[in-house]
Symmetry: C2
Subunit: 555 residues, 2 copies
């Protein structure tokens, strides 16, 4: 877990993270992509424009509005600098990055404001109501669904409210194993404190290095080890949220799910994507930090067999016994994971072919345990179950290789975009009975929308009732990459909804999924959300254009 | 688990259940109660009045309102019969029962309506809006906090909407292990169907035999095995709720907690106590039915040591390894449990005394498992942990005796009320760091409010962050039992809130806890609830006088 407290520098404006971490494809990567999906780099490289060449609109914040913001946080914490505006012009979705890389900064906020206390956040919201300024809360900025795009809605001006100065862990209670954390603390910042107490949040999404506690909370984030530690939402004990109509404080008298005092209103705030208020602080449930980690790799005859085995993991072994991370690659993803694993991967492919498995599915697991006896028992149960499904053990190094690179995937996107390649990830979830159907429908819809394309998928986040599907899509870039993105996004999203899945397992809704939210949560759901929004943010300054459908749309 | 599909006849109007199940105290019970807490039966028995002597107010339903209700469900399903009105005059709280037993039926509804379909429920609500009739949804009627009391609020008439005809399990999916259940199905009715598929809901609160799926849902019920199967709220996949402004359908595309498509709005319905709508159907997550059950009994030096050991169970062993039921009695409850266990109990007390333990704490556990190897492993981990805390193994028969009688407690209340004894249970929960403080404060507050009294407590429903406390209070009856009840209820509730606990772990809010809800969930929480209520039930016909504080109260 050593890598879990490394705090890399904040994301560069034109990519996922520190450009020094961006690595080219391994040897053979390009020929393989061409062979598998006809994916080829553009004739010319397509690097981002120079920072100064990103075109920004004029600042539309009035002098009186700016003065009001500065009166709250100090002039030095209200920025209209070019770099700050560019860095807050979007999140890390493919279209967000594509626009900036090509010099289109038209969505940049008019200013970026950096409050230093919860109270300043409350006061900023009051000032923004008074001056009719839209507010976009900004944590790590890793949204891949447009969640932090500075949409101004009906307002003349829009600011990004960057919470990076609110990054303290203000209390750790080793008895109840809880911690009070400010919303702007990034994953590794918080985890470094927890680990001093031999505790962990156990929340490690792919965005872990950049994303913040507040971001996890308002997007209903799920970490890779959600089978072990639960989703972020399951570990929220209390929350403080500044709203334009006063602070809202919920929870705290009991751990999560230990009260019957009315509806669990924490779940109104969790997943609210900045539309109801700005979360400034949360108390989170921690767990004992495991002292043993163990990865192992197995292969199954095909994806269908793998689905059945994974359902068994969740329903027969269950929480506490099944691995903390379980991930099954469909045969396409199996091909690329094995190729990336080098010689052990090639040997593994050979082994599977020798068995006559034409479309094998790779499974990687991670156990986290406090003692060897428990690990041994859990591994034995896993092995027995997998063997019943005809699985074959592979070298552990494949899983170790995957685990070692688990935060690196998005960096590779930067490299691919430099080479003009289209790359997107989409994710969904459904019940076990519907999983194969959903998998096939989404896969087919993406392929149909794209012509030659490489689509690979894995299943993870196992629960008693179902699991998630996560697709990576690669194709040669077209002349209009935004149109290309729109086409695949529409095809995938429509297929998810029509095939009975959710529009998002853990990426949230943002701008990109809002057209489907009315179908997913129904008129009743939309009415409930709008009623709460009207109560807490009656003027509608908070994060316009996200989550809720536009008035008049279905829902 | 044989007893889990027995469906006893519906509760008698003047007590918990079938009077044939009411047993007197075991031999020595009265002397023991007198010795321990000065609890003595009244000079004369205090049986309930005859049914025909319960005084009911005149029916205030207008002819046109009655006709409108009958037009929806048929005349035979709109009842103004004496027995129906008496049976729906309240739930099963001490004051509810005391009033009826003494002939006070003043709270009875004007009519009881029995819809046969979800659609009829929707149509009834529309009719009630039109005719200005308040509606009290009624499931098993086991509320001990006034949750089904027919409060009419500002309306001239009030009906009880009894869901008993909506009692079908309409679908079981053995792949996803889910079931669609109508709201009025009682626990054993639903469980009998689940068990045909070797599945179980695993939800066994003390009210299990009478309470319904809809009741579990709207009260955020917690079953005795919540450490194993989770609270009811954790197993809700989707819900259909009729409201005066249209049906609301939420969830269903994924299992619980497998989507990030906005806030988890299921949690607005769960715990809403009939104020937002009438839940007519829910999809619930089931689990594989265990084939092995094993109980065991341990004793710890004192309650404080027990608290530490139980915290270890939750935090070190955790979900999946720790027992599915863990229950620690404080030294008062230990005394009565051991006394009830007969000779093995007496032997156990002797054993503890021989060790010099003056205030021992009894711990009973239940494991549910699919195979012997897992049970063995879990038991070994339990034993190792308990021994580190100096625990001593007792005969399993004590735990088996407790488990065998786990639904019987409330029947005993009927016997005690027949003898004029005051009896009440109150419950709370908090974080581990605050548990001892809360325990002591509530215990002291009850004692101070009552003079001579017997108060015993157990800790259960363990989670990573905390646990619940459940008190049983016994005292000689005073001349005004309602005033006596009010005094202890006020003392206990105020102590819970002041000492940082929740006003209710699983009994819900109803009429009896609403004065504290504003303090517990804050102004923000009250505003959110009122906004949703105004959206879904703008005329306020649904369950007046429950959950929300009266307008003008704090909150």
């Amino acid at each position: 877990m050593a890598d879990l407290t490394d705090l890399p520098r904040r994301s560069v404006w034109h990519g996922w993270g520190d450009p020094a971490h961006v690595k080219p494809l391994p040897t053979g990567g390009w020929p393989l992509l061409k062979f598998l999906g006809g994916v080829e780099p553009a004739a010319r490289e397509t690097p981002p424009v120079a920072l100064e060449d990103v075109r920004l609109p004029a600042v539309r914040l009035t002098d009186s509005a700016r003065a009001a913001l500065a009166a709250v946080v100090g002039d030095e914490h209200v920025s209209t600098e070019h770099l700050d505006r560019v860095e807050h012009a979007g999140g890390k979705s493919y279209p967000d990055l594509h626009r900036l890389r090509t010099g289109d900064g038209s969505r940049a906020p008019d200013a970026v404001v950096f409050p230093g206390t919860s109270r300043e956040v409350s006061e900023l919201l009051a000032a923004c109501v008074e001056h009719e300024v839209a507010v976009v809360p900004f944590g790590g900025g890793t949204s891949v669904v447009g969640g932090v795009d500075p949409v101004r809605g009906r307002f003349a001006a829009v600011i990004s409210l960057d919470l990076r100065r609110l990054n303290a862990v203000t209390r750790v209670d080793p008895v109840s194993q809880t911690a009070v954390v400010q919303a702007g603390a990034r994953g590794p910042e918080a985890e470094a404190v927890f680990q001093r107490y031999d505790l962990t949040l156990g929340h490690f999404p792919q965005s872990y290095q950049q994303a913040t506690i507040g971001g996890y909370l308002v997007t209903r984030s799920a970490g890779q080890a959600s089978s072990g530690y639960g989703r972020f939402e399951e570990n929220v004990v209390s929350v403080t949220m500044a709203t334009p109509t006063g602070d809202v404080v919920l929870g705290g008298r009991t751990p999560a799910n230990q009260t019957a005092a009315g509806p669990k209103l924490l779940d109104v705030v969790i997943g609210s994507e900045g539309l109801l208020g700005v979360v400034t602080e949360a108390t989170v449930q921690l767990a004992r930090r495991p002292v043993i980690e163990h990865q192992e790799t197995w292969a199954l005859r095909d994806t269908e067999t793998g689905f059945a085995a994974f359902r068994g993991l969740a329903q027969e072994l269950g929480h506490g016994i099944m691995p903390d991370v379980s991930r099954l690659s469909d045969h396409n993803e199996t091909t690329t994971v094995m190729a990336q694993a080098g010689i052990p991967g090639m040997a593994g492919m050979g082994l599977m072919r020798a068995r006559g498995w034409r479309d094998p599915a790779l499974a990687v697991f991670q156990f986290e345990a406090e003692d060897k006896a428990t690990l041994k028992f859990r591994r034995k149960r896993l092995a027995a179950l997998l063997k019943r499904h005809g699985a074959v053990r592979m070298t552990d190094s494949i899983a170790e290789h995957w685990m070692g690179g688990r935060f690196r995937g998005p960096y590779q996107r930067d490299h691919l975009m430099d080479r003009g390649v289209f790359v997107e990830t989409v994710e969904t979830a459904t019940t076990w009975d519907n999983l194969q159907h959903l998998h096939d429908r989404v896969q087919a819809a993406i392929a149909e929308s794209m012509g030659r394309v490489w689509v690979q998928c894995h299943i993870s986040h196992l629960g008693d009732g179902g699991a998630s599907l996560y697709y990576t899509v690669l194709a040669s870039g077209e002349s209009d990459p935004i149109a290309q993105w729109e086409r695949v996004k529409t095809a995938a999203g429509t297929a998810m909804i029509e095939a009975g899945g959710t529009i998002t397992h853990h990426h949230a809704v943002g701008t990109d999924h809002r057209r489907w939210i009315g179908t997913e949560i129904g008129d009743g759901g939309i009415r409930i959300l709008r009623a709460i929004k009207a109560e807490l943010d009656p003027t509608g300054i908070l994060n316009p254009g996200k989550l809720l459908p536009e008035e008049g749309d279905r829902g």
